[in-house]
């Protein structure tokens, strides 16, 4: 029997139970190369594209635009042009007959976040995958481990990948101490001790990239490589209007324009994303944490700390990824490490490039980590 590949609704993040079809990017009859984006779907958090796992021809659209279907449900079929229609119809019918929507019980058996005691702090983390040189994902200012929802699983195919909530963020303790990179880096290294990780590939976004660099400078032997995405700590410039607007926004209407600055395509900021950020900002201690961090790290349009020269001198294998349309930290910083780093600038994407260009970023990181 010829190869028939089913395209199913992906699961992005722990809470996703169903997704909406926004539009098909490939029409029935179109030829598809492996890795091409074929359909745009939307979870309640964010929209994104599903890429083809194989090359072939788009043979069926089972779900149509605006349909809302459970995770794992059949969206469409890719197969070679010579596969007979009857064969495809049979596979579709069988897939639909056998499909069992994920239940709440299944959710609980999937990976779920844990808490680690690091000194007096509690740090939430989520582990996926096993073995290899472990990687640790470190989010940016005001983010949490869900910032990696499009990346975490894709990177965990051949290694253990941990995503953590930094102090002051997500469900970790809100005490950020003096708010310095050193304090945050100590927590990151403390987490590695807790998880029994001797040496890790650190993958940081924005402020998290600066934390990863600070950890590498403190404990060079424990860091295998650095992946720095839209990184802080590589130069002076930063959009402190964004930082201050994010910190001070008291409600949904005030935060939304701030969040729109994070993306090359501002329409990605939907109701749920805004609501999740406001829920985070309302937690006791978050306001103080954010103000402390902003006061220590980002003042009057400038970053207080540049780690550029010291990191360049460290000589760790380094991958730098930037969205060309980044409105928070300019993409010009991508070349800060000169020829000491592999530099990838992605056109049209903003600060949250790991979400906006997830497939491309995942491929770059997987290739870099080997």
């Amino acid at each position: 029997m010829s190869e028939i590949t089913l395209v199913a609704m992906p699961k992005w993040g722990l809470s996703m139970e169903e997704g909406k079809v926004n539009c098909w990017l490939k029409q029935v009859g179109d030829a598809i190369a492996k890795g091409e984006e074929i359909i745009e779907v939307e979870s309640e958090k964010i929209a994104g594209a599903v890429e083809a796992a194989v090359g072939g021809v788009m043979r069926r659209h089972v779900a149509q635009a605006d349909d809302v279907v459970p995770v794992g449900a059949l969206l469409g079929v890719i197969a070679a042009a010579e596969v007979p229609d009857a064969e495809i119809d049979a596979v579709v019918a069988q897939a639909q007959a056998n499909f069992v929507p994920p239940s709440a019980a299944d959710e609980e058996t999937g990976p779920s976040p844990q808490k680690a005691a690091i000194g007096a702090r509690s740090v939430r983390y989520l582990k996926q995958g096993d073995g290899g040189v472990p990687a640790i994902l470190v989010h940016g200012f005001g983010g949490d481990l869900n910032n990696w929802l499009f990346n975490h699983e894709a990177l965990a195919g051949s290694r253990a990948v941990y995503a953590i909530d930094l102090p002051g963020h997500g469900e970790s303790t809100k005490d950020v101490g003096d708010g310095s990179l050193d304090t945050l880096a100590d927590v990151l290294l403390g987490f590695m001790d807790h998880a029994g990780i001797e040496r890790a590939s650190l993958i940081g976004h924005s402020m998290g990239a600066a934390v990863a660099m600070a950890a590498a400078l403190k404990a060079p032997d424990r860091v295998a490589s650095l992946t720095l995405i839209g990184a802080a700590g590589l130069g002076e410039t930063i959009n402190t209007d964004y930082i201050n607007g994010f910190v001070s926004a008291p409600n949904r209407n005030a935060i939304k324009p701030q969040l729109m600055m994070l993306f090359g395509d501002p329409t990605l900021v939907n109701r749920q994303l805004v609501e999740d950020i406001m829920k985070y900002k309302r937690l006791e201690g978050v306001d103080t944490a954010l103000r402390t961090l902003a006061g220590a790290l980002f003042v009057a349009g400038r970053q207080t700390t540049s780690l550029r020269d010291r990191v360049a001198a460290l000589g760790k294998p380094t991958l730098v990824i930037w969205g060309e349309a980044d409105q928070i930290i300019p993409a010009a910083h991508a070349s800060a490490l000169g020829d000491k780093a592999q530099v990838e600038v992605i056109a049209g994407k903003g600060h949250m490039v790991q979400m906006e260009a997830a497939n491309e970023v995942n491929q770059l990181i997987n290739r870099f980590l080997g």
Partner: protein, 337 residues
Amino acid sequence: MARKITYQQAINEALSQEMTRDPSVIVMGEDNHGGEGSPGEQDAWGGVLGVTKGLYHKFPGRVIDTPISESAFIGAAIGAATNGLRPVAELMFVDFMGVCFDQIFNQAAKFRYMFGGKAETPVVIRTMYGAGFRAAAQHSQCLYSLFTHIPGLKVVMPATPYDAKGMLIQAIRDNDPVIFCEHKMLYTLEGEVPEESYTVPFGEANVVREGDDVTVVTLGRMVHFSDQAAQAMQKKGVHVEVIDLRTTSPLDEATILESVARTGRLVVVDESNPRCSIAGDIAGIVAQKAFGDLKAPIEQVTAPHAPVPFSGALEDLYIPSVASIEGAISRVVEYRK
């Protein structure tokens, strides 16, 4: 935020966290510890439906059972609030509020105003409202519009466990009297609630669902009915925006008007009787301030102007249904395509 708890547990947790944080917070009402600690009484009620269960042992002396006299203990709570405590008084059913209107309407609501801003009354009155519990005419009303009418009171009605916890903490920390309305049919509703403390500000409506065709403004239990109706209409290609007011005083007019400016069509869904109601109030505001935006007459979906029936069959017909909300949405869409 994976942890899910019920609306009732969320309220209990808010009380517990605020009592831990602030020793001036006390809880009082009928059967709030249900005789726990008295000879022969081992199993505390924790209020009529058990919302305050467990607090008595955690906070000895700060959970007070009162006589069955609403006028007395609501007055006592208001007096205590003016003297430095932050009482959370539980008045079982909002239907019984009539006997303490003077204490609430004429005293608590007026102190700040009449004493030149020098007096504060940080009291919270928690109360149950709403039909569907087979509790008949005297235990099923939605009287929130009465409180909304009185300047000086804040009126809050969370629709979800998340809002219940955050808004009760906000209410306890607020320096003005707050009427905190809990729908008895929502107590068992589960939802994601952070373990940490947080506040949800008053006067900020929640956009439960975004849409550009019709605006549905609603509150309390009707938020869930309206969202189901909106989901059904989505399948017919009608995109409904659902706005949960969360507080009727203060009122988030801006969110309503901004939405109607986009959709041009308004349905207000309110479980209470229709005369002098929140539904009528919202319709009036929109008719006055957004007349030019409207493409169709405003629809109001409410209970009829009648007491809540004793018969279960009639009670089910009395409460606005998902189908009646869908009908109203269809009418404003069909009015002028």
